[in-house]
Symmetry: D3
Subunit: 322 residues, 6 copies
Amino acid sequence: MNSNFFQPVDAAAVPRFAGLSTFMRLPAVASAEGLDIALVGIPWDGGTTNRAGARHGPREIRNQSSLMRRAHHVSGTEPFSIANVADVGDLSVNPINLLDGLKRIEDGIAAIVAAGAIPLAAGGDHLTTLPVLRSVARNVPVGMVHFDAHSDTNDRYFGDNPYTHGTPFRRAIEEGLLDPKRVVQIGIRGSIYEPNEHDWAVAQGIRIIYMEEFVRRGAASVMEEARGIVGSGPTYVTFDIDCIDPSMAPGTGTPELGGFTTREAQEMVRLLDTVLIVGADVVEVAPPFDLGGMTALAGATMMFELLCVIAGSVAAGRARQA
Amino acid sequence: MNSNFFQPVDAAAVPRFAGLSTFMRLPAVASAEGLDIALVGIPWDGGTTNRAGARHGPREIRNQSSLMRRAHHVSGTEPFSIANVADVGDLSVNPINLLDGLKRIEDGIAAIVAAGAIPLAAGGDHLTTLPVLRSVARNVPVGMVHFDAHSDTNDRYFGDNPYTHGTPFRRAIEEGLLDPKRVVQIGIRGSIYEPNEHDWAVAQGIRIIYMEEFVRRGAASVMEEARGIVGSGPTYVTFDIDCIDPSMAPGTGTPELGGFTTREAQEMVRLLDTVLIVGADVVEVAPPFDLGGMTALAGATMMFELLCVIAGSVAAGRARQA
Amino acid sequence: MNSNFFQPVDAAAVPRFAGLSTFMRLPAVASAEGLDIALVGIPWDGGTTNRAGARHGPREIRNQSSLMRRAHHVSGTEPFSIANVADVGDLSVNPINLLDGLKRIEDGIAAIVAAGAIPLAAGGDHLTTLPVLRSVARNVPVGMVHFDAHSDTNDRYFGDNPYTHGTPFRRAIEEGLLDPKRVVQIGIRGSIYEPNEHDWAVAQGIRIIYMEEFVRRGAASVMEEARGIVGSGPTYVTFDIDCIDPSMAPGTGTPELGGFTTREAQEMVRLLDTVLIVGADVVEVAPPFDLGGMTALAGATMMFELLCVIAGSVAAGRARQA
Amino acid sequence: MNSNFFQPVDAAAVPRFAGLSTFMRLPAVASAEGLDIALVGIPWDGGTTNRAGARHGPREIRNQSSLMRRAHHVSGTEPFSIANVADVGDLSVNPINLLDGLKRIEDGIAAIVAAGAIPLAAGGDHLTTLPVLRSVARNVPVGMVHFDAHSDTNDRYFGDNPYTHGTPFRRAIEEGLLDPKRVVQIGIRGSIYEPNEHDWAVAQGIRIIYMEEFVRRGAASVMEEARGIVGSGPTYVTFDIDCIDPSMAPGTGTPELGGFTTREAQEMVRLLDTVLIVGADVVEVAPPFDLGGMTALAGATMMFELLCVIAGSVAAGRARQA
Amino acid sequence: MNSNFFQPVDAAAVPRFAGLSTFMRLPAVASAEGLDIALVGIPWDGGTTNRAGARHGPREIRNQSSLMRRAHHVSGTEPFSIANVADVGDLSVNPINLLDGLKRIEDGIAAIVAAGAIPLAAGGDHLTTLPVLRSVARNVPVGMVHFDAHSDTNDRYFGDNPYTHGTPFRRAIEEGLLDPKRVVQIGIRGSIYEPNEHDWAVAQGIRIIYMEEFVRRGAASVMEEARGIVGSGPTYVTFDIDCIDPSMAPGTGTPELGGFTTREAQEMVRLLDTVLIVGADVVEVAPPFDLGGMTALAGATMMFELLCVIAGSVAAGRARQA
Amino acid sequence: MNSNFFQPVDAAAVPRFAGLSTFMRLPAVASAEGLDIALVGIPWDGGTTNRAGARHGPREIRNQSSLMRRAHHVSGTEPFSIANVADVGDLSVNPINLLDGLKRIEDGIAAIVAAGAIPLAAGGDHLTTLPVLRSVARNVPVGMVHFDAHSDTNDRYFGDNPYTHGTPFRRAIEEGLLDPKRVVQIGIRGSIYEPNEHDWAVAQGIRIIYMEEFVRRGAASVMEEARGIVGSGPTYVTFDIDCIDPSMAPGTGTPELGGFTTREAQEMVRLLDTVLIVGADVVEVAPPFDLGGMTALAGATMMFELLCVIAGSVAAGRARQA
């Protein structure tokens, strides 16, 4: 362990319900300077078309993340020993002004990236991923592994409005932030507006793996393909909590029956361990619709799973440079 | 698309939380005349022996059905383009008089049938299926695909009372409404009153597929057998929400551990696409015991799944006649 | 009773849980033509700075309004016998675009006003009252009786944003929609940003009656003063549900301890019976934060109380004209 | 203290969450023989026209009654020292057959009365009071102090059905069980079906004290009148939990804003200490609609308040006989 | 059936919501004398390091166990016909004194064992299993089948405290109550304090089957190994409800994503039918964190599953002796 | 305003749901050095005899305190301008060892007192007040204003255990920490173990003002007497949230009907403005039993009310010294 790395509070010394609530019980720091990975909250849901509430996600994910411990029981990874990680707080947001909200998020992530840290964000709704990508992919389009019930590549809402949580990846492709041929969407399901609703996405080169295909093939096969799609280039991972079944993640705005079990989701994220992750998020945890913190716990746990694979990647990179 | 068919409100134009709440956001109409499929509520739970509340089912199923869209993401079916569907409201009920309640439901369904529409009902407890069958099967016994944790073929309760939600199919067979040799029950499980509790049903010819057999064989095999059992004759489909696991459908009166996942349930209903469905229902959604609308969402989604297969059947029938 | 007036469904014939959910179980109509009073939903909370959710208010208020009956037990008023009232549905809204949202609401209310009906609206957050006033007070500034925990006369948020649910009445005065000398705010309380926070409002001429003054004087004295302030001119009544104590109205975004009991609120509204009400609303009912529908029931009941005084005013006006 | 009287479990010895759940932590006994007061559950809501659930009342009232202690802090009464009290369990009920349900309740109470005990019942909906009165008032009409939001003297529902929880006292008067001139109803409020809805009751001689009159006069004045109305004759006390404000008793089927505080209700019941109570009940606690057991706690506490005044009456009678 | 054996109340005669709440609706008895199996509550959570509440477990498990019936639908076992079973109530506990609490539990179980009955306990937190083992394994170390998300073999907490719900099995091995070579832990998962956290347990000879191994192998294979590990010697079965996935058992203190489905858990327990069970428990059901009784229902059902295999074992032993 | 004093985050700049959660949105500091008032959490409920959960109080009170603003709307006090206030975090606690828990709390408060700051604590159960008094009153007995439903002067529980949340003030008097003649208890009510239960307390000189006396006299009269009792000497204020009515503060372990309204409680605390407060707490907020954060909001608001009077006292003292 690098003795200069931040360490979480030990639950065998300080009970989990005590102390200020931060991601993984890590120290709260003022900036991302010196961090390998910056855990950051984006409490904003200005793009939500139906049930808002993801603005409250970061606080509740922090609360539930008090249940995380220091090591991964399968991989043995100790993320806090191999990477410097801390909670950089919440980004500045604007709950009543969509364009200003997007700008603030973009700027906040830009500061993290400029500090040399990888952002691992807790949303917020899925539109937050667009300004995150604007900063993470400022210089070069990235690939993306996208876990979700919805493709989020729609075009316009309520007239001619281009920005909602149903449109971020259409915008991101149009803006050159994503390389659509290096994008894979996994878990898509649920009734759709039109049978050809996903034609645009597919035409761009996005690979959509519907839930039914996942059920047939299993996580190992699907993730082997996903790793092939994103390859060795810089890749963003976005995890919309509604990819999980509503019984396991009820606290979200647009639930769809027949989703992943958390077991399946954990297995998939663990298989990202060879991917060069330049940023990641867990979005659409909406506490006002949650039940007993179940969804926030799922969000916190998926953040921990992502943290372990990112930390492994950081350590591997450091080893290569040494 | 037949331009005269009713269309649901588009959520990209009117948000899901806006407007009057109807099944699938379809127009509310005064009668079933001109409809192919009549979505109808039966807010009655007079047969419930333990936890009442299914009387509130239709209202909450309507609310949650606002999350449905126009097309099925697996089959591509667009039910509202190939069949005329609307919300005909709730049947007249009597919450304090069992026999009058049964009569009103029978009459209400009879009017739908007389109008030439197929009823797709949201209960209500499972006793509501008995008066529905009295109208749907008035002329000829029907087959039945029955998803449930319980066989509902018991005989008497609280002394000599013949009508409860534990007895509808015993009564239906006695009344000649069901052809027991064309009845299959899927998902039966849970502790039982007596080891021989199901002997009567089996003796009539009903095929009971317990949950454990389903787990061994899988949906495809079970539904192949089910389709064989009901054959090409007129068939009723009844979906008791308690066939689903209590973690996914907690809002019901008689939960039993170890049920179907919603994924399994969806797969099974999709495999009904070759069956001649003359009526269907989703029953036992009891909102006072629900958690965050989860059960009502499951009920609404299963209604949409049923709607898609029924609409396909309607369109096929129309094609044959053309 | 005018036999042409719309009548609510009778709960002794059709149970309260049955049938489509409309305000007071009245018919849903397509336009306000022919109505004296139009019950209308404004499912929009685009101005909310903290906990959103009032967008879901109209649906739940409709559900709880099924508990209302035909006559007022104190005044004896039968609103549906002396005025033509119906549910005109929800206004068109835009949940992701604030300015477009305001415009749609203004237009929707304008249509009701143009039809000659008095709008009685269910919000929505308190910013919805601004566009309502833009249509109701298009020609002449109105007076206002304002029940609230907050003055809602702040200026800017999150930088230079002028429109939030904390600013509507500053904007309305600036726009000449309100005559501030005919405005009274009742129930104001809770910690404040600055000791001089209300100076601007008072300087305009608004009379602020803090909760503590109400407690000392009682409803009768306070309302006598309020009636004097608004006088005989056209007056708008806006009822922010957070004027009620959080224990009785928990489902709201900005609760403040020490509020009105519902008993006190009912007494106050009943004392508006001599006021010339040209429009009214009940706002800030936020179902995602509600407990057991308690807040929506309070909202529905306050709508009924308002309806009775407005109907009395309508009938009196009609009598004068006859 | 009579050393033969049953005593509750002491919470300083056995924590409140431990042990089988009985009323007031008293012993469960098989019959009312030897008791002065029989605490009894009537888990039946067959007369409920809207939201059922009072069938679950006795169990949750028992749970919450574990918070009761041995003595009354105002009167100093120690009910278990001056009267023999126990939990006689639940009456036999029939949830699906109204007439059989009424008969079973009548028989169950008859057995308690025959044993010489005063029944103090936990309902159940308010229709349960009718069969209770059939046994308590079998020989002579009784007076009644009736706390409620509703008069419950309606006539017919859903066609020609005479028995619902809205009709028990019309039936009881018709059957000669109540002396209407010795009946007082306190707390009546809420919108009504017709302005003349209570004319029948008033014509029989019932005194209705609406909530607004109570607010003006206060508990002492109202109860002085009430004691005068029932006089020294045998009197039944029925406490519908919906007399309490919905914020304090949300778990009930027909909530009405503006009800009693529990403080007011406690004060009123304490002022019954001079009344000759021959039976009492607390009804309409509907746990499926309750919040955190709040309503059941209110029900349990009101039972304890009633118990103290009944025990005082028992002891006084015993003293007179000695 | 042995006509002297206690029988549960029949739900077709007395509805499930009626009557005093006991385990499986069996009679409550004062001692274990004459019983084969004693159902007992241990309402104590003094060892809980995070979210307390398991003290309320027995009461809610009793409530939900009203849904159990007389026979097992897969094995056909009728436990109440082949073994004498009753509810012996709750053990004496001390919620504020850990060491006294442990002593009281040990004594309470000792009395059951001395009476010749097998204890089947409802906890309580997992530290309760330690004093249970002190009585069950007083004379000879026992084997153990341990279903759990956590190994519970930690050493010290909050300084030098040896007794928490994270340490019972380390203490039990140190005290010679368990034969670690006959102990198998199934379902272990979740982030851990240190990568070598389980080394001590493994070094003692405990076989840990992590969740991921279970997923690969399935219940049949895992349980075959488990039966081999415990062999034919006396064996304790402890079922920590947090082995179940949090979506199915949210009401527990230390939830971990990715757990067993209840279907898998039921299958595993059924495969214990050849094991010589000398005691068993279901622990860590914490009702204050439960959702709609879901976790208590899971606990009650797992108790019923355990009861069926224990009853089978009792009957087999009796047959051998006959 | 002293520009060196800590200021809360401004909700018009950063929305209330954003940022780390601290008391009143103040900075989190590592020690009390330089503070006038230290806001501190004591997440410990080791003395709870019934429903635990107050250990989770500080976290939820922090969350709800985000609704507080900078100034008091009645007194105009700006606490953060006249006193230096910050959040010093949670004290070290031990959830499984009562005596160690008490020692840790005593030490933690001692450090705050040694730093010259006045502790304003969020409990925790009421036993936490005992170790707080051990540090605050180390040198001289203090007076106490005690708002509570219970006297908390019992002696022994579960045998011979002297320390529970029912005994702190008997112990404090025995230890010479309180001057009983300067102690007043306000709001005591609810059924009691024995009629003479409070005799010991009264004999020591404690003045008990039962709820019924408060209702008769009103807050002004009662608080005048209370101020007289504590006089000008150092005084501790302890506010047990269960003094508030259960409908307004359901999230507590031992609710008693008929409590203070929050309006009354606010009025009383405001009348403490002339008292020399040397420490204060708000205890017994138990989030697992709370509804929608209502009780935590009440706790946070009462902390703000206390803060305002303490800050006024601090400023007055500073003025005297200047």
